[in-house]
Symmetry: C2
Subunit: 333 residues, 2 copies
DNA sequence: CTGTTAGCGCATTCAG
DNA sequence: CTGAATGCGCTAACAG
């Protein structure tokens, strides 16, 4: 591998100074058309690529963005990553992706690692409820999905409306006793979804009952197990369930099925996220679809603005959601 | 945000020279126990983090690894990313993840971007069949899953055995005419799976027939559509199908179902990858499970060796696979 | 419009 | 065992 050429060598070859090369590279202006063309030709010909470490050292910017996610194998987060990747590629930024595994210690290690690498900014989906203060992090941060304390700028789905739509769907398909089954860690998105659930019940003249609000960890197995316990202790005292994610919804459906309650005949179920499994399982699960592209793009835009020192007018950005209907809430004829 | 301290300031505070600080940071040795402790205490106290750009400029290493994947939202690749992330975090490397979207042009842009950022090495799951030569890339590369021409070091599942196991399962559950339904782009893993399929048939004394080998793009919808066409043109001339991924398997099952052929009663189906949908759809899909952790760890180890200038003895690393049985190949009683 | 030059923070000789 | 000095490649004054 031939070692890379430096700006000095390119300057020599082109017969101009390094300053001129630098200007052309960075589109700073202040050179003739002629010079520009010559320089660009040489750059092309010798496949010159500026040394990012050197320019980073000089400018104190790395043109890289840290992205912290709780779980890359979760399709919802993966979709956000893909959109972020696309968005930032256009702007010639590179993404440092960190999977915190919902583990606070790993998350801290990753964060330190990112800061050491001089990322210019961070897109942060935190597993923690309280996160470092902005001045402790030292670079602009845009939070996504979950809003911890200390968060300055946050982009999230309109979770309240999501909960409302989901619950309304259950009401309009005839459910009379609707349970809420949420992630027991009660992060901000889940709390908002519950708010929407409560509002829908209230507006329909139905009571908000404590015993109708259940919870478990947010995975398939935990939800299934929790629902099994509930059913064997108290039986099926509800005819509709709004769950805060699709995999939990699936666990619940399977537990119901074990106990002989069919979905949607005996109980109707709505999930959240619209992961592909919810489309392909049986029955297909009615769910609230989050707009991952918008979430990513708005977060990217906000971060870029902050990097450029522009002020953010809208610090709490809410992205619309939509209900996706499937068999799990089909009306019976 | 307080601006970060430089090595100079730390040296002043500690009352030693920058050289000593540098030695301690990098565990170079050549200092007294006493000095070491003092320096480390100061570093801790002032939360000093060395500037990665500066040390990168000096050493020409960035302590970052590029990772190119065709699709982060594909659970198989996402799992590999998560394991890579965990592996490299331990070694204090940071991952630059790039999603090529199976798009050759995007892939090139990303690659250039990575090289500009001075990554020390690359883990490369390419969407292309022929990739740049090692000397054109200029940093060590470990290929994963797909082996393009020019690949030096490659880590992949034992796809041939995978195809063999899948086909043998179909044979042992009573199938007499077994179709192969593969990704039409025929990348190396798919070719090997087909080899395994052919070997299993041969060993069982069954004929390898051209008309039993079908193909489509490797997504749910394409496979479903292709299977619809096949069924309406020629009917169901097989009683078993080995497909090269789970989402295709699902598309095929749904197409069969549309035409009144039940799985597993009329036709048995085996997929590949063991994505979670294959577990939760109905019927559950028998599939070949790839060991994403081993794939990632072995790739990481190989890359680290190359970065340290050690030679790689094993340049073609094959990771064992396992058959995961589900309803789609249940025997009928 | 273009060139000269200082210095970003660090690792690494070379002296001692 | 420790320090002084050099230069990695680049950007941004500044000078012309």
């Amino acid at each position: 591998m031939e070692s890379r050429l430096s700006i000095n060598q390119i300057a020599d070859i082109a017969g101009v100074s390094v300053a001129t090369i630098s200007r052309v590279i960075n589109n700073r202006g202040g050179y003739s058309r002629e010079t520009e063309e010559k320089v660009n030709r040489i750059i092309e010909e010798y496949n010159y690529r500026p040394n990012a470490n050197a320019s980073g050292l000089r400018t104190n910017r790395s043109h890289s963005i840290g992205v912290m996610v709780p779980d890359v194998t979760n399709e919802f987060f993966a979709k956000i990553i893909r959109e972020l990747d696309l968005y930032f590629l256009k702007h010639r930024y590179v993404l440092l992706i960190c999977d915190s595994n919902e583990d606070s210690e790993l998350e801290n290690m990753h964060l330190q690692n990112l800061l050491t690498k001089n990322v210019d900014g961070i897109i942060y989906i935190s597993g923690k409820n309280d996160v470092l203060k902005p001045e402790q992090i030292g670079v602009p941060v845009v939070y996504v999905d979950r809003s911890p304390k200390n968060a300055e700028v946050i982009v999230h789905s309109d979770n309240e409306t999501g909960g409302y739509l989901a619950t309304s769907e259950l009401i309009s398909t005839g459910c009379k006793r609707i349970a809420f089954f949420g992630d027991e860690r009660l992060r901000s998105p889940v709390r908002r979804r519950r708010d929407g659930y409560r509002r829908a019940l209230k507006e329909a003249g139905m009571k908000n009952l404590k015993e109708l609000e259940l919870s478990s960890l947010p995975d398939y197995e935990s939800a299934r197990q929790r629902m099994r316990e509930t059913l064997s202790e108290k039986g099926c005292f509800f005819d509709g369930v709004f769950t805060t994610n699709d995999m939990m919804a699936l666990g619940i459906i399977h537990a119901l099925s074990e106990f002989g309650y069919r979905v949607p005949e005996a109980v109707k179920v709505v999930g959240f996220d619209n992961v592909s499994t919810s489309e392909f399982c049986s029955p297909g699960i009615t769910t609230v679809t989050q707009d991952t592209r918008q979430i990513a793009v708005r977060a990217g835009e906000a971060l870029l603005k902050m990097l450029h020192g522009e002020s953010i007018e809208e610090k709490d950005i809410s992205i619309p959601v939509a209900l996706t209907k499937r068999e799990s809430t089909s009306r019976m004829q």
